[in-house]
Each structure stands twice: as C-alpha cells, then as structure tokens.
C-alpha cells in the first residue's frame, strides 16, 4: 500500500501534448477515479503510473520512490484492462499464478495465494479452464484475481466494466467496492462513466483535453463543479446552464434571465459586481414540482409550461419552459403531464452555481 | 517357302529403299521437331546444322526443342516422359551406344537405320569399330554427328618444364613423379565433381585392362570381380591419392583451371577441354596447352558420340529421315563439328576446317583402336550407369577395391551386362 503523487506530469507524443502538467496526490488506501470524455488523457495518466508509457515531464512518486525510470515490473502495481488481457493459452490458475511465477515465489506459496484469491472471487470451479471457456463476468473476475494475488501497492483499473452488460456492470461495481473495503489497497480507476465515478470514488478527478478540471469527493464535484464542463459532465441529465445577469432588485441580489428573475439566497454571491453577466447552473433535481409550497421559499416558485414529460419508472423527466427559459427537471414520482400543461415549480436556489461566461469557471 | 521368304525380304528392302528415295526426291513440307540438350555453348553448332538442313529443305519448319542441363540429365527425363506419353519428337539427341540401345532399342522404340546407312554409303565412311558400337546384331540405331575422345590427359607445357617433369606415358610413370609434385604442394591430378571420377576411372581401367579386356568386360566375358577387375580399382585407388580433396565441389572447368594456374599438373578430361582451353582461356593448342592420350592408353581411342535416332511412330517421318541424312553428310558434319569442338565420325572429313587439336584427334581416330566410353554412355546401359555412380561413391568412401569390384559385378548382373 502506498501513496501516489503526480508532480506536474507531462506527456507528449512528438509535438502533441496530451497531458499538461498534472498534479495529484492520492492518499494511501484511497479509491480515486479518473473520469473524462475519450481523449482527455485519463488512460495515459494511468499508463504512466503503471510504467507502460514514458513520462515526458514532471515526476510520479509511488510510496517514497520516484518511479519515472523504474520499469513496470518493479513498481509493484497491478492493472486490470478493459478487455481483461488474460493469457488465452493459460488456464485460470496459470493466469493468476503468472505474476507470482515471474517473481520466483515458491510453488506452494503460489498455490496458496491463487486458491485464496479464487475463493474470494468465487472462481474455484473454473481454475482449470481456459479464458475462452468463461463468461465475460468470469473473465473479469480472473483479471481481478490476477491483480489481487500479487498484493500490489496500487491497483490500476482501465475501464474494467465497460465490456459488461448493464446488469452485470452494476453487480461487479458493488463487488469492486467490497473488494476495496476488504483489501484497502490504493486504487486508481479510469472510466468515462460518471455513475461508476460517483458510486466508487473516494475522490473524483475530472479531466478534459489533458488538463485536470477538478478534484474532489463525488458530492463536491456534483454540487460545486469547478466549471461548466464539470457541471455538465457530472450528473445525468446534465446541469441546466442558462445565460443571465446579476442585478439588485429591492436591495436583494437577483439573477435575471430573460423574463425570469430569481433572488439569490442571502449567504451566496452577495459581493458579486452588479450588472455582471453570469451563467446560471441549476441541477435538474434542484427544480421541484411536487410539494413546492412546503419545501421552497415563495420567491423561488415560478410558473412553468410543460414541453415534454417522460416517466422513467420511479422518476420523471420534464422539459419545462419557465419565462422563456428552457429547463430540464428531474422529479421524483410519476408525473402524468401533457405538453402545454401549466405547473408551479420551485428552484432550490441555495444549490445554484454561477459561472463566469468568459472563462466558464465557477464564481467563488 | 524359302523363296517366298526371300521375296518378302527383298520387297521389304525395296520398300525401305523406296521410302528413302522418295524422301530425297520429294519437296518436303511440314514440321520437324529436333529434341536435344544443346542449348549453351553447343547452340551455335546445332544452329549451323539446322541451317544446312533448311537450305536443302526450305519447306520444313524446324522446331528446335532443347532442354538444358549438363550432359542431358534433364533432357533425358523429359524425353522419357514424352515417349511414355506416346508423343515422341521426330528425332532426338542421344549418346551413341548402349545409352541408346539399352534404353530405346531394347524397348523396341527405334527404327533400324541399316538401309539408310547402306543407301548413303556410310558403311564405308564411318569406321567399322564405331558402327559395331552403335549397332546390335539387329541393326544400326543412330547416326553419329560427332566424336569426342575421353582418354586425354591435359597439361601446360611451360608449367611441366617448371616442375621439371614430362607427361607420363603410363600410370607407373605418373605414380613415380606424383609424390614429388605433392611434396611441392602441387596437386598431381586435378579432379572435379563425381562424374569426372567415373571419367577418370574409365581411362585408368582402359590402361589397366587394355582394349581387349575392356571390351570383354562389357560383353560379359570378363567379370568385374575377377582379379583383373579388382586390379583396376586398386590402381584407381592409388591414382586417387594424388587428386585434390575438394574435387566434388568443383566443376570440370574449375579442375582444368587448376592445371592452367599451375595448382595442378595434369587433368584427365574429354577433348571438349580443348575448346575450353583455346577459346575461354586463350591458349594455343600444342604450345599454350598440351595433351597426350591418358597414361597407358596410347594407340587406343576411347570415344563417345552424340547421335540422333529415329523413334517409331513419329509424326514427320520423311522430314526426320532427311534430317538424319543431313547429319551423316559430309557437309553437315563439317558444319557442325568445328563449332562444337569435336571431330567428325566420317573418315573423309575436310580437316582444313578444323583446329590443330582436332586434326591430331582425327588422325588418331583413323588409326587407333576404338573403344567405347562408360561415363558417356557407349558401353553400358543407363541402369548400369546410374548404379555405377553409387558404386563409385562406395569406393570413394571406403577405398575398398575388393568390395567395390564385387558391387560392380552385382550391378552388372542386375543390368544384364554380366551373367
């Protein structure tokens, strides 16, 4: 187990810079998720930590050792690949034992460790099969087993669940979480799926175009996104972002967007310059339709017209027109509404986030 | 009954003569396919021959089918598949003697050419010994176009002077000077790849046995494992001790080069070496390079000949016969041989067209005892020759004269030469 530190890590391919000075401190036993759209550099960072890519600049420290020039096998990290990368000509047992065999562990110890890992992952009955004779989920477990047996300092996961079907994915996600609780190994997990990020991570690192956008706990990045990109990348459906202005109305700081005006809570954004243009970010679940009277202050209640209503089992998605602004609202319960219906909505304005329209960064 | 037989015989003879005469008289048309392995150095000689034929028979389209490959190994295989497939060429090249007789005459695939020989008067212009070797008691089977001599020893006179020796007359002479040469680091006798070992063997055997017993060997009257037969291998073994040990990776030209360069003193090779020495190496016959009959074979002419025969069932019979007439004619043979570097089989050829070596060879051919070559297909059939290669290997490896002679006798029996 070990801490992992990235100091201004840079990666170039020729003239193309794909990682621009990433700084990150990953604590011992932490489960950290790197998330971002494809091409954001998350896999590159992971592979640099693994030692599969050279580091163009900066340094990576695992434990207290700078590993820039340390070969992968001497970093004591284990990796699970998207396509599992099982050795097709070896049985499950041999696959799991390979790393230990390379480390020249005595045979009986290898045997013991493999059997242990197999028991943990419920792979016992399959030990003598070859990967081709296993289902996707079983292969996934073997890949994890191969990582576990070596008791590495750091686990690296490169989109390990994306080849599984939705149901299995949820199940494996849970098991991963359990494994982490059991082994408490520092884990770096790469995914493009924000649900995996939200559910698994102690902290999430959001990347875009080779820049770290934000590092924080799932709630932090959800509630206080550092910029418009994070706001829209995390959360499904994404955050509503509308253009507006800050004005004082009757002495109270108020957001105005077209015909809509919303008074900001007293403890937020009070020192903002008057007349400043802003981007207003409101989470879909921050727009309430039910029990509005009880839950939302009166000045945050507005009249809305329904454009579209979708029922997703336990929740409903509404596209609303509120004073000529388009909003998506995610509402608990089944809302049987029709286009053109009028409803009263309430904004949880204490959760509002404002962004600078020039920089798209969040305004403090 | 006798009368009838005589009449039939006469009629048959008449018929044959008739055919040959019409062949002469008619203006020939159609095609003529000649099958040979003369594609390389010998190509121009064959072309000259074809030109003579075309001049006489402008209506015939000559198809010159050649299959390359040293001494015709590949050509013979192609020919055999064609014959087996019932598609014989109109006339094909074949080593005169048993190579033709053992393979094609015994299989009853050839026409008897005796009437042609008689009609063209060849019985008197070809040496009697030669006609005996290219025929059997049932007929004459091919028209020889050239004569080569096998038993010739080559050397460079200036080098011999340097070494302080003379060309040996007998193998005893050779074995006397050989150790001295060897001590100086000179290979006494240059040898090349395996067929040249067979070639050397026949010269040694002829010297050891003499012409009479040599013939007796092939008629089955003398056994290969008789004391005389064993003595041949013993002498051959002694001679081999004075040859180069990288022989089997050399071509005969490379062995001849050794003599030219002074790395070796002598080389026993057929007289095609004369052409190589004078044309390729630019040495003058007699002064630049010298020759003798191989030791112990003076007065004996071991010949080999290329010849053309007439297969049964050819498509263009008349054209083929006309071709054979051209081959045997003085004009044809004197067009071909100077270019090929051989001498004519005819005793009346125009020697002014030939070079110095050929003149001396022609003189020897006219007066010497003529015997056939083994290595080049005159004395033994192909089965024996093939097996003899293995026997030779056996000897080269074991150097055991007694055992080798036994093996030679066995293959002679197997191939119908000895009883």
């Amino acid at each position: 187990m070990a801490q992992v530190k990235l100091n201004n890590v840079v990666k170039n391919y020729g003239n193309v810079k794909v990682v621009h000075g990433a700084d990150l401190l990953i604590d011992d036993s932490e489960f950290i998720v790197l998330v971002g759209p494809s091409g954001c550099g998350k896999s590159t960072i992971l592979r640099m930590i693994a030692g599969l890519e050279t580091i163009s600049g900066g340094e990576i420290v695992i434990g207290d050792q700078v590993v820039n020039r340390v070969s992968p096998k001497d970093r004591n990290v284990a990796m699970v690949f998207q396509n599992y990368a099982l050795y097709p000509h070896m049985t499950v047992r041999e696959n799991m034992a390979f790393g230990l065999k390379m480390a020249k562990e005595p045979r009986d110890i290898i045997e013991k460790k493999v059997n242990q890992a197999a028991a943990t992952l419920e792979l016992g009955p399959y030990l003598d099969r070859k990967p081709a004779a296993l289902s996707g989920g079983q292969r996934q477990r073997v890949a994890m087993g191969r990582a576990i047996v070596r008791q590495p300092d750091v686990f690296l996961f490169d989109e390990p669940l994306s080849n599984l079907d939705a149901q299995l994915r949820t199940q494996m996600r849970m098991e991963l979480k359990k494994l982490h609780l059991q082994f408490k190994t520092t884990t770096i997990y790469v995914t493009h799926d924000q649900i995996e990020a939200m559910t698994l991570a102690d902290r999430i690192v959001i990347l875009k175009d080779g820049y770290i956008q934000q590092v924080g706990s799932p709630i932090e990045v959800f509630e206080r996104p550092a910029n418009v990109f994070v706001a829209q990348f995390i959360g499904n459906p994404p955050m509503n972002i509308i253009k507006g202005k800050c004005t004082r109305v009757n002495g109270a700081m108020t957001l105005v967007a077209g015909d809509l005006s919303l008074q900001l809570p007293e403890d937020k954004y009070q020192d903002i310059a008057e007349g400043k243009s802003v981007l207003i970010g409101i989470r879909p679940d921050g727009i309430k339709v039910r029990d509005v009277e009880h839950r939302i202050r009166e000045e945050w209640r507005k009249e809305a017209t329904v454009n579209v209503a979708e029922i997703l089992g336990g929740q409903s998605l509404l596209e609303l027109n509120i004073s000529n602004n388009r909003f998506i609202a995610e509402v608990e319960g089944r809302m049987k509404l029709h286009p053109g219906d009028k409803v009263t909505v309430g904004f949880e304005l204490d959760r509002v986030v404002l962004f600078d329209p020039e920089t798209t960064e969040a305004i403090a | 009954m006798k009368k009838l037989f005589k009449m039939v015989a006469a009629l048959t003879a008449l018929c044959f003569l008739g055919i040959f005469q019409t062949a002469q008289a008619k203006d020939l048309t159609g095609e003529l396919e000649i099958f040979s392995w003369w594609a390389g150095d010998e190509g121009p000689a064959l072309e000259a021959l074809i030109d003579v034929y075309k001049k006489e028979h402008p209506g015939v389209e000559v198809i010159n089918a050649t299959v390359t490959g040293g001494s015709g190994v590949n050509a013979k295989a192609v020919l055999k598949t064609r014959m087996l497939g019932g598609n014989p060429p109109d006339s094909f090249q074949v080593h005169a003697g048993q190579e033709l007789i053992g393979t094609w005459v015994m299989a009853d695939r050839m026409e008897d050419l005796t009437p042609l020989f008689e009609e063209q008067g060849w019985m008197s212009v070809f040496p009697e010994g030669l006609i005996k070797l290219i025929g059997t008691d049932k007929g004459i089977w091919s028209v020889p176009v050239n004569i080569h001599r096998s038993n010739v020893m080559w050397y460079i006179p200036s080098k011999l002077k340097e070494f302080g020796i003379e060309a040996p007359k007998t193998w005893d002479d050779f074995l006397k000077v050989a150790p001295m040469l060897k001590e100086k680091g000179i290979v006494p006798l240059a040898l090349a790849q395996n067929w040249t070992a067979n070639h050397l063997w026949e010269s040694v055997a002829l010297a050891s046995l003499g012409a009479k017993k040599w013939d007796a060997l092939w008629s089955g009257e003398l056994a290969f494992d008789s004391p005389e037969g064993v003595a041949v291998w013993e002498l051959f073994g002694k001679v081999l001790e004075y040859t180069n040990d990288d022989a089997s990776s050399l071509s005969w030209q490379q062995a001849t080069d050794m003599v030219v360069d002074g790395r070796a003193a002598f080389n026993v090779m057929g007289d095609w070496a004369a052409g190589y020495l004078s044309t390729t190496k630019g040495l003058a016959p007699g002064t630049g390079f010298g020759w003798e009959a191989s030791p112990g074979t003076g007065g004996e002419f071991m010949f080999l000949a290329d010849s053309f025969g007439l297969p049964k069932g050819v498509k263009n019979l008349d054209n083929a016969k006309a071709w054979l007439v051209t081959l045997g004619s003085k004009e044809g043979s004197d067009a071909f041989n100077p270019l090929k570097g051989s001498i004519s089989a005819r005793t009346d050829s125009d020697l002014s067209k030939y070079n110095d070596y050929a003149k001396s060879a022609a003189a020897d051919f006219a007066k010497d005892t003529i015997v056939g070559s083994l290595a080049h297909g005159v004395t033994a059939n192909e089965g024996f020759m093939n097996d003899f290669a293995s026997v030779m290997e056996m000897f080269l490896k074991s150097k055991n004269a007694q055992m080798t002679a036994k093996a030679a006798q066995q293959i002679a029996v197997k191939n119908g030469i000895a009883k």
Binding site: M79 | G383, M392
Partner: protein
Amino acid sequence: MREVSRDRIKAFLTLLPSIVLIGIFVYGFIGNTIWISLTDWGGVAALAEHPVKHFIGIQNYVDLFTGFLEGRFRQDMVNAVFYSVSLLAGAVGLGMFIAILLDRKPKGEDFLRTVFLYPMSLSFIVSGTIWRWMLAPQGGVNILPTYAGFKPLTFKWLSAKTTVLAFNWQNLLQIGLYLVAVITIIIGFIVYRNSRSKSVKWLAIGALSGLTAWIGGDMLPKALILEEIHGFNLATLGIIMATIWQYSGYTMALYLAGFNGISQDLHDAAMLDGASTSAYYTHIAIPMLKPITISAVIILSHISLKMFDLIFSMTGPDNAETGHPALNMYLTTFRANEFARGASIAIVLFLLAATFIIPYLITQYKQRRTR
C-alpha cells in the same frame, strides 16, 4: 428446406470439377504410383510401348531398406532426416529470432522485413547456384575471414567427407528402441506435472524399450547382412545453410504477423506481471503462436522432404554425401529407368510426409468439431 437443398446442389456442382480433377490427378495418380511400386517395371525394356509389369509385392521396399545395392537410398534417408531436423530448428529458430527483433519495432522495420523476406522469392535454382559459389572451397564464405585479417577457412562446405553421429544401419532396430526410450522418458517427465499415472505409463514404456535395446543388444535381428555406416554428413551443412537462409524469412513473416496480432494489452499485462522481454516471448507470445509454429513445422517438414532443386543445383546428381531421397527417386526413375523402384521411393517419401500432415489434419478436424 427446399432452399437448403438447392444451395447444397449448387455448392456440389461448383465443387464437382475440382473434385473430379483432384480425384484423378492427385489421388488417382497416388494410387497408380502405389501400384507401380508393387511391380517390377524397370530394366532394359522399361520404356517399351507396352512395358511388361509383374506384381512382386513389397519386394521393392524390402530392397530399399535392406538390399545390398540400395545403401545409397538409406544414406539419403538418413540425410533427409538430419536435413529436415536441422532445417526445422534453423528456419523456425532464426525466423522467430528475426521476428522478435522486428517486433521490437526498430527503425526501418518495413525495409528490413522486405530484406529478410526477399530470399523466399528466389527460385531454388538461382539461390542454389549462388550458394554453390559462396561455398566453393577457395571462395565466398571461406575467404570472409581474410577481410578481417584472419586465415581463410578451409572447410569444404559441400564436399566434406566427415560424418558425425554415425551409426550402423544393421542395428536399426536397437537404435530405434533407444530413440523410443529417450522420447517416451522425456514425455514422461513432461507429463509428470499434470498427471502422475500417465507419466508412470510413459516412463514404463521408455524403460522397457531401453532395456530391450540394451540387454537384447546383439541378439536383436539385424537389418542387413553387412555392416553399413550412415550418419550426418557434414557436407550437407552447406545445403542446410542455404535452405535456412531461404526459408527463415518465410517463418519470420509468419511469426511477425502472429506477433502483430497479439494485443498490446497482453504485452502490457505481462510487463506488469513482472515478465522481462524475454519472459514475455517465452511464456506469452511464443506459446500463443503455437498454431503458427505447428503450421511452419508442417510446411517446412514436407518442403524438406520434397527438396530437390536446391540440392540438385548445389551439388549435382551424384553427390552421395548430400544426397536426398527425392533426388534419388528422380535418378532411379528417369536415369536408370527403374520406374517401379523410383515409385517405391516416392511412396516412402509420401508416407513420411503423411506422418507429419495426418496428425495435424486430425487435430484440426477435432478442434473444429468441438468448436
């Protein structure tokens, strides 16, 4: 249903011409050759228009393996075995080695790949002639050291008379038993890790045949009356070199394609599992390419059994040191006119090739069934 049967008929009709042609020209002629090999077709009247053939059973085969005059065939067989084994080891090993070097993606990999593959495109006659010059006693390879100031080599690549690993053909049975013993004991030790009981069986067979050969010794029946020594003629080294030179590019291409087909992730996984580069190749890449190795072995082994032109152009028809059964077959048939004997050599070669190919076909067939 009707659609299916119509498709089948169409497929059958499409295949019919090739079935008929292959039936006649391949299998028909194999059958004919077997028949000829059981006759006495040969000798003086062999080329008659209707040659006389008598059925003589397997006499030709008996002669080949025990006849006094067929020692040459036996040496050729021994040559062929050593030749095949060396070619397999050399071409597969060298090809694999070059493929591994190129798989490391050096600069100019494309160019080098073409360079190594190029010899494949030469005809054997051409490469044989080139190598004959290169291996001439006073030239080519032998004078290479002189460029570095050393003495020239004197080895006679194509005409050395030295024989190593010599054995007496008389003791063929004994040697065969020893071979069986060695092989089964090795198998026994390999199997030991997986299954004890199977291993014991193999070891028992090995020990038994080894003992029989050892104790039986002189009492075992002799294959020949006379002693006859055969072995690995060093003169074949030149031919082996030339063939390896010509074919290692081919195996390289096979392996390179295989290596390129292995996903980068497997390589990465092995690296993380602590494998060095050489361990990656020995434990992962090469075992994964077992099918390629098997096809290379099969292709090369029957190429080596059929090898003719290269040997013919390098050492000519009558060089027993470097002889090969295919050459012998040609000369026996078309030079000596012993058609039946030649056919029997052909069948021996055919059976040898079959021993390589048939097990392969069977495993392929089984694999397809289980899939």
